[in-house]
Symmetry: C2
Subunit: 266 residues, 2 copies
C-alpha cells in the first residue's frame, strides 16, 4: 500500500489515452500526468535529445512524489526506457513490452506488423522486444510520421488520410501480416481507415495492456492504493491553442486540473 500518485509522461497529450485505460482499471489510484508539449513531437528528433527530455520528465514526476512511472510515449519508450530505469530508484515501465506480449498472444502466423513514428521504427526497439520473447516471429516495421499530424488536424476520415494510409500500409498488406501493433499514442484514432486497408486481422493498441502490466507490477511491489480519490492532475510544458479540445478527446473526460510547468529544459 502506497498512497502516492502514479506518474505518467508523454511528449504531448496523446498519452492521455493510456491514462484513460489506467483510470479504468485502477479507479482509486491518483495520477500525475506530464505532457512535454513545449518540445513535442519526439518522434522526429534525435535519440540523444529524447533521452535528455525523458530524464527531465521522470525527474519532475519523482519530485512530485510519483511512486511508479509509466512512459506513455512510444518514441521515448523505444530509446530511453533502460536509461530512465537505471537512473532512478522508482520503478519504470514503458509501452513497448506490453504491446509485444499481446501481439504474440494473438498472432497465429507469427507475422507481425508494427507502425510508429520514424524514431520508434528506426530504433529497432520493437524488433528487439519481439525477438527476446519469440525468436521465430517475423516483424515488419513501417514509419508513418504523417499519421501524427493527421490526427492533430482531426482528419480521421479525409480522403487524403486514406491515400496516405494506403501508401504507408501497402507493404504490410502485401506481406500478409496477421497482427498489427499500433506503436504510437495517436494511431488508435485512425483505426477506421487502417482497418479499411488492412482488413480482418488482429490489432493491438498497447494502452490497455499497459494498464494490465501496471496492475501486476503495483501488486508485486506492494504499491497499490485502493483508498485514493482517483484524481488526475495534468501538467503541460506548453498550453497550445487547442490542447483542451484534443486532450479531452484522448482522455475521454473533461480536463479538470491542468497546470503549465517549466522544466529545466523548456
Amino acid at each position: 500500500m502506497n498512497k502516492n500518485p502514479i506518474g505518467i509522461f508523454d511528449s504531448g497529450i496523446g498519452g492521455l489515452t493510456i491514462a484513460k485505460e489506467i483510470r479504468k482499471i485502477l479507479p482509486k489510484e491518483d495520477i500525475i500526468y506530464l505532457g512535454d508539449t513545449a518540445r513535442l513531437p519526439y518522434g522526429t528528433k534525435s535519440i540523444e535529445a529524447i533521452i535528455k527530455f525523458s530524464t527531465e520528465n521522470a525527474q519532475f514526476l519523482i519530485s512530485r512524489g510519483a511512486k511508479f512511472i509509466v512512459i506513455a510515449c512510444y518514441s521515448s519508450s523505444s530509446v530511453a526506457l533502460d536509461i530512465v530505469q537505471k537512473r532512478f530508484s522508482v520503478p519504470v515501465i514503458g509501452v513497448i513490452k506490453p504491446g509485444v506480449k499481446k501481439a504474440l498472444e494473438l498472432t497465429k502466423t507469427a507475422k507481425i506488423g508494427v507502425i510508429g513514428t520514424t524514431l520508434t521504427i528506426y530504433s529497432g526497439a520493437y524488433e528487439k522486444a519481439f525477438k527476446k520473447l519469440n525468436k521465430q516471429c517475423e516483424v515488419l516495421g513501417r514509419a508513418c510520421p504523417l499519421f501524427v499530424s493527421l490526427v492533430e488536424e482531426g482528419w480521421f476520415d479525409h480522403p487524403a488520410t486514406e491515400l496516405i494510409a494506403e501508401t504507408y500500409l501497402k507493404p504490410l498488406k502485401e506481406d500478409n501480416i496477421d497482427t498489427l501493433l499500433l506503436g504510437c499514442t495517436h494511431f488508435p484514432l485512425l483505426i477506421g481507415v487502417i482497418k479499411k486497408i488492412m482488413g480482418d486481422i488482429n490489432y493491438v493498441d498497447a494502452a490497455r495492456e499497459v494498464g494490465v502490466e501496471l496492475v501486476q507490477e503495483l501488486k508485486k511491489l506492494n504499491l497499490e492504493n485502493d483508498q485514493g480519490n482517483g484524481n488526475i492532475s495534468i501538467y503541460l510544458t506548453d498550453l497550445s491553442m487547442n490542447f483542451k479540445e484534443i486532450g479531452e478527446r484522448f482522455l475521454g473526460e473533461p480536463l479538470k486540473s491542468v497546470s503549465r510547468v517549466s522544466l529545466k529544459g523548456t
Copy 2:
C-alpha cells in the same frame, strides 16, 4: 562597415531557404544560422512559448557576435518580432513585412491570400501588416499545418498532397484572390501542387524580399561587409536523423560547418 556576421534564426532548417537568398544577394557577408530543431515546430505552440524560444535564440546569436538579426521563422516573426526588437540593441527584422510589401506591389485587385502555420494565421500578424500599409486591401488567411509535415516527408507530388492542398486552398480559390503569399519557410517546396490548384496568379515567397530589405537596412546602418569570406556556420539545438539531407535541399549547397548547441532551454 562591420565585419561581424549576420545572425539568422528559425525553428528548424527551413529558414536555410532564407539564408540561401541572403547569400545570393550578399555573397561577402558571413552568416551564423541557428535552427532550434530540439523544440520545432513553433507553428503549433503557444505565443508565450514562441516568445521565450525566440528571445533565447536571439540571445545566442548576439553572444556569438551577430551585428544584425533576421528572424527567418514566420511563426516567430508573427508573434515575437516586436519583443525581440525591444529586448536587444542589435537591429532585428522578420519575414512578414518584406512579403507584405511585395504582395501589395503585385496585386491588382487588392484581394490577397496568405497561407501559413496555425499560429501565423491565427495571430493576425499578416492582416495587421497589410492594413498598416494599405487599408483597402482584403486579406484572406488559411492555416495549412499539414503542409509542413508533407514537406518534411518529401511528398512534394504525392496524390495525397494534392488532395490536402485542394482542401486547404479551396476557399482562397473561390474568393478569387490574385496574389498568394507563402507564409512559411516550407511552403515554396510545394509550389508545384499549389500552382496546379490556384492557377495563374501572383505568388510571393518572402525569402528574396527579406534579402532586399536586409541590404537596405545594412546600408542605412553602415553595417555592410564587402570584404568577408561569405562563410556560413550552422548551429542546431538537435541533430535529427535526416537533417543533413533536408538542410542541403533548403540551402541549395552542402552543409559544411554544423555544430550542435545547447541553449538555456533545450
